[in-house]
Chain length 393, copies 2
Amino acid sequence: MRKVGIIGVGHSKFGVRNDVNMNELVLESFKPALDEANIDLKDISFLVVSNVGLWSSEELPAITIAEYLGLTGKGAMRIEAACASGSAALKVAHDMISSGEAEIVAAIGVEKMNESFTPNVVEIIGRAGNYFWEFENFGMTFPGYYAMYATAYMSVYGATEEDLGEVAIKNHFYGAKNPLAHFQKEITMEDYLKSKYVAWPIKLLDSTPISDGAVTVILASEDAIRKIGSKDVIWIKSIGYSTDTSNLSKRSDFLSLEAARRAAEIAYKKASIDPSKITNLIDVAEVHDCFTIAEILAYEDLGFFKRGEGFLALREKQTYRGGKIPVNLSGGLKAKGHPIGATGLSMIAELTKQLKRQVEKSRQADIKNGWALAHNVGGTGHYAYVTILSTEK
Amino acid sequence: MRKVGIIGVGHSKFGVRNDVNMNELVLESFKPALDEANIDLKDISFLVVSNVGLWSSEELPAITIAEYLGLTGKGAMRIEAACASGSAALKVAHDMISSGEAEIVAAIGVEKMNESFTPNVVEIIGRAGNYFWEFENFGMTFPGYYAMYATAYMSVYGATEEDLGEVAIKNHFYGAKNPLAHFQKEITMEDYLKSKYVAWPIKLLDSTPISDGAVTVILASEDAIRKIGSKDVIWIKSIGYSTDTSNLSKRSDFLSLEAARRAAEIAYKKASIDPSKITNLIDVAEVHDCFTIAEILAYEDLGFFKRGEGFLALREKQTYRGGKIPVNLSGGLKAKGHPIGATGLSMIAELTKQLKRQVEKSRQADIKNGWALAHNVGGTGHYAYVTILSTEK
């Protein structure tokens, strides 16, 4: 098993990007990644594209992107694992290099959601559970599912709506400092409590926006890294993964995403990490806060805090910069935005920059050990991927 | 790089399968594959699902399939590379094992196309080129593209409509002997010449049907194979890949699929095959005959016959059983059917059985060297994958 390093990342501005088409949006992320990697187009042998695209007329996005970037002739495929597509693409690119099948691979995540008719997009996302049973028969929608998790959590552990609000406030606080974020403004508890309910207790300000965006992560083998002479490489230590039932009615409880717990277990084991000491090791994390409750569950599923205590940690600002473990210093999905196919790779690009101390000073984590973690969920915990990065090989 | 073997395959009946839902259709292929592999569900660590699904309401097919098969908790993702999705999924599963990230992976290809409103499906397939330029502006459709290849080929090399018909006649001849084929009846040249034009010179009988079907291929590492004690393993020697321009107006000519030529070149090189002796080595091949002209181009792109002589070889029945190199003894996409996401893996399942001498006697190739080749194309040569299988490790 060959080790795999990240030699270049690029990240477009997230937001409503009707100023560019999909290919141009990708180029906005690809060009800086290629420059940073210090390689030529011909050095790339495969293009792994993460894109959900259910709202798009473009049926062959990997091909049109390859043509636009000048990568025609290379290998390509598209990967989908709902909102965890970016992490799945990272795994495919990683395994391709680790196996010896490729030396340099570009993983590209992209989503253009705002060019479609918005109610269509909202309906499609709303169906991100089991279509034929729970959506068709019971009218369960995506925010409804997370509302079930929120009410269960609040009822069992005594968290309040204000506790959910603390996630939104933190992530908007950091989003305001990230020039690539969809929303670059802070919000107050008053703003939060006044925002409209989507599915009680989930409010508009608990929810991620509908964003456009693209991210490129260029991966290379140890041999290629040596040849290029890359410095400041960030290494992929492990990628854990798991799935859960399509129907939420088959889940045992609504207090945790079991798939995320299993994905973390695999990732920690592969990277030889002692789960009980995870917060001592990880300097900074990006977690999947598609709704605010999801960030609190992530704290607990990853073992950052004990079960039922995630919201208490937030009251103590333990996941702010300078706290026990800083989380979503990018603004998270909540404020940075959530262009579905790009999200998982956005986490990787952000953490790569964090580990290299290259983000804006006001949101730069203190890098002590050089380790970072990305937690990326698809659907309501249908998919989960956990990726561990490190400055050490 | 660890070697990867096929330890079990399963293949559903292809056709109009409104008697089953997607999950049940998958099970029809999964159960025999699992039985043949002689493993338990718990031994599988990842599920790579090949599915295009643009006509489906099911947004998380990999998850609903995992739940139905009892594989919830395992890793999963969906792969798309148009009509080459199945080969791309095979590559992902292969690399996962080859890298040491997994021991046993199930690659599952499935497509349910007939449950949707047929004109919708036909329109979606019709757009399988570049949407925003050539489809929207010039009204180019999928059969139209292949018609351009056919007219160019006929005009330059002197092939006739009857020569295209010979492909359809051969593939229906073998489809009639394959109980899993969509069409199990022979056709005559008279039937062929009487069939309606879709886009001159492409007729209905040059075209593949709209099929439902599922295929499972279970892959394992050398270590796992040793532990299980699997006998009669078929080994993946190499997988070559390439892409071509999204816009066909940028292609240099219409006499060959350049992506297929490059994919073959990579596959031959990785497997240390001398391209000039390919027909001496390969006992049987499955090629992507989405339209009859595509099979003739495949003969030449793979180096089975010289440029401009593929149709002559067919006149001499060189690709029938007993000929220089038997092709599509399954009936090919033309008669076996083309459930898009399942097609690439269907080729692998068929060739695995051919190499193990397990198909119906009347369509069993003479296995001398124990080598086979699958050629799988997405779009109009937008994607191409070539896979080499062998009985020897």
